[in-house]
């Protein structure tokens, strides 16, 4: 007999929508379970631009989307203060642009009205000389440029923060758990799911009054488990990730088809993207292609002529769960979202689906979806997610003091504090140098690219439910820098093995899987100086492969 877990709501999907809803439910006191078949945010969220921007792009066709994005961006800044960073944008105008400076200015003036909602500054118009002084990498062909103000976020970490908060308010949060069957009552009501632990192979039954399908691009597949149809028009998007910051400011660029893209600083890399193409392939294996990489570089080159000289360390590829629409180009599809009550629509009562939407408005969407669920449950608690800080966001930390106290490089503590906010001292506590604490050794840097400390890996293993080495790439940015885990994957796996009780064979298999995952992300844009880095990567991960093999990568 498999284990049974009774809850009020089962949320399927641990992306930003699922974790946001689980948190909202838990804060309202609803007994909740969340299952994610891989790692938080590993589907669409992680590969997004990581921006909680206002959606200037939607101003013309979907001003509602812009309004809600800006409004919620303001909320997210307060509840996730440690996870966000300001990204000033530079929009160059070139002589051949069909929309000249005057029209751009009109649009930006409209957008300025939304800026106060998200603590953004109004736009400025820069002369050609001013723009080049500010960003020397810009093409000298520009006529003038505009600035506007947006915000970035560590999107994967935002999922984790929501999931952690849900768990701390009583939710059962399970990663690497997949819903393989929806349970139905005799009268056809959806009343939970059979869940498979993809790592251990064990099964459990989660019995729930309601099931919320928040599986993003997989939402149609989950809906099919109940025999109902959810129709999406999945749009694939890729990003290129550069080894360091190519520009100090985000820079607008335009694709050959007129699509707006940008190169933007993200964490300590730059990213460039994104594309938007109908996707019909395997959702579990989404890789960037040569065409997409070339398309993005071609677009970027017009704004930043030297872009190809910079080292691309990896790609990110995912699909958006865009709402279905016929007869439109990908970029024209609505970024709106819907919450479907399959009891009303399909005679599958008990099942809800949320699809569509934007990262920037995730909290608002979660609130809406949760309102619907609570109405169905008869729960009257109000939503508190707009005011209640996420874990770590309740107070600032003195990074310099922590670095001194724990004898740890400042750069490492800065990154740690970025992810853990006010909980940073907790992460470092096992290394307390005070004699009373046993004068423990200083934390050690495991991944020098990020950097990631052994203390953080132990912390996320013990307290955040990390289950695989691959989880750490999203959770703490392990092995996603220049060397792609050549230097750190083995040592990090050793640390995880201690905490998770892996056998030697499992540890070897985890490292092999991690190396293979990184390679898939690198290969489509492999070139230039990354060729040498991957030669070393192969020497370490293939040239030093041991003989005791665990399970083949699944």
């Amino acid at each position: 007999m498999s284990r049974v877990l009774p809850v009020q709501v089962l949320v399927v999907g641990g992306g930003i929508n699922g974790t946001g809803i689980a948190r909202d439910l838990a804060l309202r006191g609803v007994r909740t379970a969340l299952v994610e078949k891989r790692e938080f945010g590993s589907g669409t969220t992680w590969a997004s631009s990581g921006m909680i921007h206002g959606g200037l792009r939607y101003l013309q066709k979907d001003p509602e989307v812009t309004y809600h994005s800006c409004l919620d961006s303001g909320h997210i800044q307060r509840i996730a203060a440690h996870l966000i960073f300001r990204i000033p944008f530079l929009m160059p105008v070139f002589p051949e642009d069909s929309i000249g400076p005057e029209l751009v200015e009109v649009a930006l003036e409209m957008y300025d009205r939304y800026q106060p909602l998200k603590n953004g500054r109004p736009h400025t118009r820069l002369s050609r000389e001013q723009a080049l002084r500010l960003e020397p990498a810009l093409s000298t062909r520009l006529e003038c440029a505009f600035t506007l103000d947006e915000w970035g976020v560590d999107a994967a970490r935002l999922c984790t923060a929501n999931a952690l908060d849900a768990a701390e308010h009583g939710a059962h949060v399970l990663t690497h758990h997949e819903a393989v069957e929806l349970l139905r009552t005799a009268d056809g009501r959806v009343c939970g799911a059979r869940i498979r632990d993809r790592i251990r192979g064990e099964e459990l039954r989660i019995e729930a009054d309601l099931v919320m399908n928040a599986a993003g691009p997989w939402a149609p597949a989950v809906a099919r488990l109940a025999g109902v149809e959810v129709r999406l028009r999945p749009g694939k998007g890729i990003h290129l990730v550069f080894e360091r910051r190519v520009t100090n400011l985000a820079v607008y660029a335009r694709g050959v088809d007129g699509r707006d893209m940008f190169t933007f600083p993200h964490e300590h890399n730059s990213m460039a993207g994104t594309t938007d193409d109908d996707y019909y392939g395997d959702l579990d294996r989404i890789d960037a292609t040569e065409d997409e990489v070339s398309y993005v570089l071609e677009a970027m080159e017009r704004s930043i002529p030297g872009i190809r000289r910079h080292r691309i360390i990896h790609t990110m590829a995912a699909v958006r769960p865009t709402l279905y629409g016929f007869g439109q180009n990908e970029g024209e599809l609505s970024r709106d979202y819907v919450v479907i009550d399959h009891g009303e629509r399909d005679a599958a009562p008990g099942l809800f689906t949320i699809v569509g939407g934007k990262l920037a408005a995730y909290r608002l969407m979660a609130e809406d979806a949760t309102d619907r669920l609570c109405a169905a449950l008869g729960v009257r608690e109000p939503c508190r997610t707009a005011e209640t800080p996420l874990p770590g966001a309740d107070a600032a930390v003195d990074v310099a003091a922590l670095a001194r106290r724990f004898r740890t490089p400042l750069a490492a503590v800065l990154r740690l504090a970025f992810r853990h906010g006010s909980r940073t001292p907790r992460v470092l506590a096992p290394h307390d140098p005070a004699p009373a604490a046993g004068a423990r050794p200083a934390p050690r840097v495991v991944c020098a690219c990020e950097p990631v400390l052994d203390a953080e890996l132990r912390h996320v293993t013990a307290h955040e439910g990390v289950r695989t080495l691959g989880d750490c790439a999203l959770r703490v940015r392990l092995g996603v820098g220049g060397c792609q885990g050549a230097a750190c994957a083995g040592a990090a796996a050793g640390l995880l093995a201690e905490g998770l009780g892996w056998s030697a064979e499992q540890t070897t298999a985890e490292v092999a899987r991690f190396a293979a995952e990184r390679w898939r992300a690198v290969a489509p844009a492999l070139g230039g100086r990354q060729l040498a880095a991957m030669q070393v990567h192969r020497a370490v991960h293939l040239g030093a492969r041991g003989f005791a093999r665990g399970q083949e990568p699944s």
Binding site: D287, E290, V293, R308, R407, P409, P441, A442, R444, V445, V446, A448, A487, G490, A491, A493, G494, L495, A497, E498, S503, A504, E505, T507, T508, A512, A515, A516, W519, R520, A523, P524, A525, L526, G527, G528, L531, A532, M534, Q535, V536, R538, A539, V540, H541, L542, G543, A544, R545, G546, F547, A548, R549
Partner: protein, 454 residues
């Protein structure tokens, strides 16, 4: 007339040393540390690997363990364009290959020994060495440090954890080592973890292993390590330490520790940044080059000038300007991507010095192609890109597009030679050693210094 060697890794250094020994005036141009400086402390000639289609531990049909010599013969039989086939011909007797390796290893040992590094081993047995993560390497030849860590008939293995040393976690390594012994059906024996407490002053927090290795050559530091290790010795026990036992003074450090413990003491193998083994080899090679009077230029070769079919000089860019090095013969040992011998320029692969034609692991012309077109998304599959290099005639002269040698007196050695992927087929430094020697003998002939030896 002098020989100019371009590239200061193992292949280039061996070529330069060999030429110097034959009486040639030699100048070696070196742009910086390359793949040799990133090597692991082993000299793989025909080492075993668990990867499919690599060189196996056991005979795939009969199941008996293969000697490295038998694996070397396997490289010959398999066809393809592995550089060994230029050394020996595809039908060469196994004995001839073994003799060639023996001779080359002895020569290298002779060059490195005064600098403090020995080359240990032959092709008779697989030397099982543990790496810093506890995986086993089926090596054949190894350098001082790694060589002493051969498991051999030790009745007990002890991984020593040096308190506070970054990047070396002994417990997972010990677990892995035990599993590796079982997987390979090697004699089971206890694998323990022993802790050695070093004075904190020795271990600046976060310092790289190379810094600790340098410290351990100082008498007081060595004494501290000796006292920390002394209680850990036991009969039949092999003490495996992280690869930090000195730089070129490693021989002395090892002797002192063996004397203090009464046990065998060796290093775990590893690559930078967790091991200075490659840096040790690099430093020993530079010392040998100095001792043999090889002129050295720290700079980058940017062009080769020619007169008819012959290379006449190498232009070098270095701090302070350009220099023209007149050359009667040239050895090109610039490596691949790490070494800088192959680059991708404006989205096209190219041999960096001469624009020579390149061929990928599938035998297709690779220069002019974007690198990413020569890889598969499956990491474990053979990647044509990473077996890319130049093609040569039997005298190791790189071929031009018309299939004829690009120059009458220019020879290639080391990883720049295509036809093998050192991450899959563990023959990397073996190729450097053998082709470095062979290129030298051909260059000597081109200089008029007597007959080529083979």
């Amino acid at each position: 007339m002098r020989a100019v060697v371009v590239g200061g890794g193992l292949a280039g250094a061996v070529a330069a040393l060999d030429l110097a020994e034959r009486g040639a005036a030699v100048c070696l141009v070196r742009a910086g540390p390359g793949a040799t400086a990133l090597s692991w402390g082993t000299l793989d000639v025909a080492a075993a690997s668990p990867l499919a289609d690599a060189l196996p531990v056991r005979d795939p049909v009969r199941g008996e363990p293969l000697t490295p010599a038998a694996r070397l013969a396997l490289v010959m039989r398999r066809g393809g364009s592995h550089p060994y086939r230029h050394m020996l011909g595809s039908d060469a007797a196994q004995a001839a290959g073994v003799a060639l390796v023996k001779e080359a290893a002895a020569a290298l040992d002779g060059w490195l020994r005064p600098a403090g590094l020995r080359v240990v081993g032959d092709l008779g047995t697989t030397r099982w060495l543990a790496d810093v993560r506890g995986a086993l390497r089926g090596a054949d030849l190894a350098f001082t440090g790694a060589a002493e860590g051969e498991l051999g008939d030790a009745s007990e293995l002890a991984i020593v954890e040096l308190s506070g040393l970054a990047g070396h976690d002994a417990r997972p390594a010990a677990r892995s080592l035990a599993a590796e012994l079982a997987a390979l059906e090697l004699p089971a024996r206890p694998v323990r973890v022993l802790a050695a407490l070093l004075p904190p002053a020795l271990l600046a927090p976060g310092g790289p292993p190379a810094r600790l290795a340098a410290r351990l050559e100082e008498p007081e530091a060595l004494e501290a390590l000796r006292s920390a290790l002394a209680p850990l010795g036991a009969p039949g026990r092999l003490l495996l330490l992280p690869p930090v036992l000195g730089l070129l003074g490693i021989g002395r450090v090892l002797a002192a520790l063996q004397e203090a413990t009464g046990s065998r003491v060796g290093e775990l193998v590893g690559a930078p940044p967790s091991s200075p083994a490659g840096l040790r080899l690099d430093a020993a090679l530079r010392a040998a080059l100095d001792r043999h009077g090889v002129e050295q230029r720290d700079g980058r070769a940017v062009a080769v000038e020619r007169s008819d079919a012959r290379a006449t000089s190498v232009l070098v860019e270095r701090e302070g300007g350009r220099e023209r090095l007149e050359a009667g013969a040239v050895v090109l040992a610039t490596g691949r991507f790490v070494g800088g011998g192959i680059v991708e320029h404006q989205g096209r692969l190219a041999e960096s010095l001469l624009g020579l034609p390149l061929y990928d692991g599938a035998g297709q012309r690779a220069d002019g192609s974007p690198a990413h077109r020569l890889v598969h998304l499956d990491y474990e599959a053979p990647q044509p890109l990473y077996a890319t290099g130049v093609r040569t005639d039997g005298r190791l002269r790189p071929l031009a597009a018309d299939g004829r040698p690009a120059f009458a007196n220019l020879f290639a050695a080391g990883e720049l030679l295509g036809g093998f992927d050192p991450a899959r087929v563990r023959t990397g430094l073996g190729v450097a050693l053998l082709t470095g020697r062979r290129a030298a003998s051909q260059a000597a002939q081109a200089l008029g210094l007597g007959e080529a030896t083979s």
